[in-house]
Assembly symmetry: C2
Homo-oligomer: 346 residues x 2
């Protein structure tokens, strides 16, 4: 956390300039392939409901051939978050790796078209752009099988120090920890941000992902992270407890600011100034929960970067999450800024 940091460049420890970007996100650059299925289909492919499983290309092809009709929509957790932030009127940048192929073009188009700066060069080799098969069950839950493709080839060289230091908050996706090179990029970015007195945020991404990297995440949270995002499953996995209240007590000790989302039970924000509990925003029908956490983070980070109090930021998060679960896909269909103005939140 910032308060306990010592830096090598103390003259940079406090930001000297207004950040050019509210948020820079670093994450996997993925196109989602979203279709519907029943629970039996998930069981047939050993897909753990509600989770993200990393798979290789033949598995992706096998599931794709067996699944129903799909739609293709740009995704990627951290990318969804900055897309949401841009839709709210914030300024954002994204760093992530695509290949020079159709899905890479789709990803690059969509993130730029919503107003996010995206300059990471596309890779030239044979490895394709990442894609995630997202299976939505009748209850609206999404289960993901992700082939990372070229995405983990993001390395420290792709992380521009100037870009990181031009952002008020650098937002990191826990999924990046699944590959060493990307993890190194992740840590380089956190270092640049810290050196410039900027904030660093992390999302834990997935309960299984936390299982794979528990100690590394805990170390990072205590050392480098200013704002932690997690859902109930992830925070319980981090502390290996089945009690949300116990997990919340633990993270309140370890993190400066923790934003915990609980689906229809709303959210809890824990900080030095206390605890805020905000209800979920009502939705007529939960169509597809893909991106709910990503968009909650978008709303919260927008509010945070504007200096809103935690409860108001969490309400913005809840509103953005409600929009995203009302339709297929994890990128906003509505103009979130207009929506937030209509609801009196900005």
């Amino acid at each position: 956390m910032m308060s306990s940091n010592t830096t090598e460049t103390p003259n940079m420890a406090q930001p000297t300039a207004q950040p050019r970007f509210d948020v820079l996100a670093i994450g996997n650059a993925i196109v989602d392939i979203i279709g519907r299925c029943d629970d039996a289909f998930l069981a047939r492919f050993d897909a753990p409901k509600g989770h993200m499983l990393l798979v290789e290309e033949p598995t992706i092809l096998e599931i794709y051939n067996a699944m129903g009709p799909a739609v293709e929509i740009s995704g990627g957790s951290a990318a969804n978050t900055v897309a949401g932030l841009a839709s709210l009127g914030g300024s954002a940048a994204f760093i992530g790796k695509v290949a020079k192929d159709t899905f890479g073009e789709i990803f690059a188009h969509d993130i730029r078209a919503i107003g996010v700066a995206f300059d990471t060069p596309a890779a030239d080799g044979p490895t394709p752009t990442a894609r995630s098969l997202i299976l939505v069950t009748p209850d609206g839950q999404r289960t993901m099988n992700t082939f990372l493709g070229v995405s983990p080839e993001l390395d420290s060289g792709a992380i521009g120090k100037e870009t990181v230091q031009a952002a008020g908050i650098t937002y990191l996706e826990g999924y990046l920890f699944d590959r060493d090179a990307a993890k190194a990029a992740f840590e380089a970015a956190a270092g640049f941000a810290r050196d410039a007195g900027r904030k660093v945020a992390l999302t834990l991404s997935d309960g299984f992902c936390v299982d794979r990297h528990r100690d590394a995440f805990l170390g990072l949270i205590k050392k480098d992270i200013d704002i932690l995002f997690a859902n109930e499953d992830e925070i319980c996995s981090l502390y290996q407890t089945s009690s949300f209240d116990n997990a919340a007590k633990c993270i309140a000790q370890d993190a400066e600011l923790a934003v915990l989302t609980r689906s229809e039970k709303g959210s809890v924000v824990l900080s030095g100034s206390g605890r805020s509990t905000v209800e979920a925003y009502p939705v007529a029908e939960v169509v597809d929960t893909t991106g709910a956490g990503d968009l909650f983070a978008a709303g919260f980070l927008f509010g945070y970067s504007r200096g809103f109090d935690n409860a108001r930021s969490a309400r913005l998060g809840a509103l953005a999450a409600a929009e995203i679960i009302s339709h297929v896909g994890a990128r906003p269909e509505a103009d979130l800024k207009k929506l937030a103005i209509d609801k009196g939140l900005i």
Copy 2:
């Protein structure tokens, strides 16, 4: 029309076997790239609102680069119709040309995954799969810029006589008339169907398309078409009148069975047995009108192939159209069979 036909193979003039497919559709194989824009954006690219414009690849790229975030969903007018028919529980086949590229794979996957037989070999050359940029304005209207790519390379050789004669109805998309080879394929199919005593249906596709091929369409309707689908704009364009009632009177003379859709004003079915008027199905919000006519045809053809009366078939059409305009994209998100059972229509 069938009643006035003489055929070269009179022993085949009445179908001898139960058709294997309720409907075979022949049309352009297209992936839709759907995004939102305002009326000023349409004006900037001279895109006539509510219509389909044929453009070349550089224009598609120019518009794509300028447009907002998009989603990719399989489309193609006649393909949407058989996808809807399959979702209702009907049996269907599709003939159309894709290339061996990502969009071709997406198209083939989606149409097969919904249960439509699709065996047209993908083309191997450099010309890509067709794509249509669909711009949705805040009123829900869609305006299309289509690059046909490899799609018009469908020629008579791709039309299997056995497949055509195995279908109760062969459904042809007017858009195919825009390229000579595809038009020839279209006419070959109508011939095979007629020879086997099967029905031939045609959709006029677009007012501008009718403008381009008015005489050819009129000739075909009088000679070969058993069921004609058109919307208000198209039928008025066919008879060069601004009066729907006048156009309806004309088509009642020229077509055996005409199914005329009028958006929120419902539909009119004209046949020898009289005139049926059916209201539009209410929708909470018109999100994207793409595919409304295609899905109306799906519902109507399903009912027709089951021997329902025209009003009941039109109500099925209205229900399928209502589902499609409630979300982005022209392929059903809901299980249309379940929806129709819930509404007591099948």
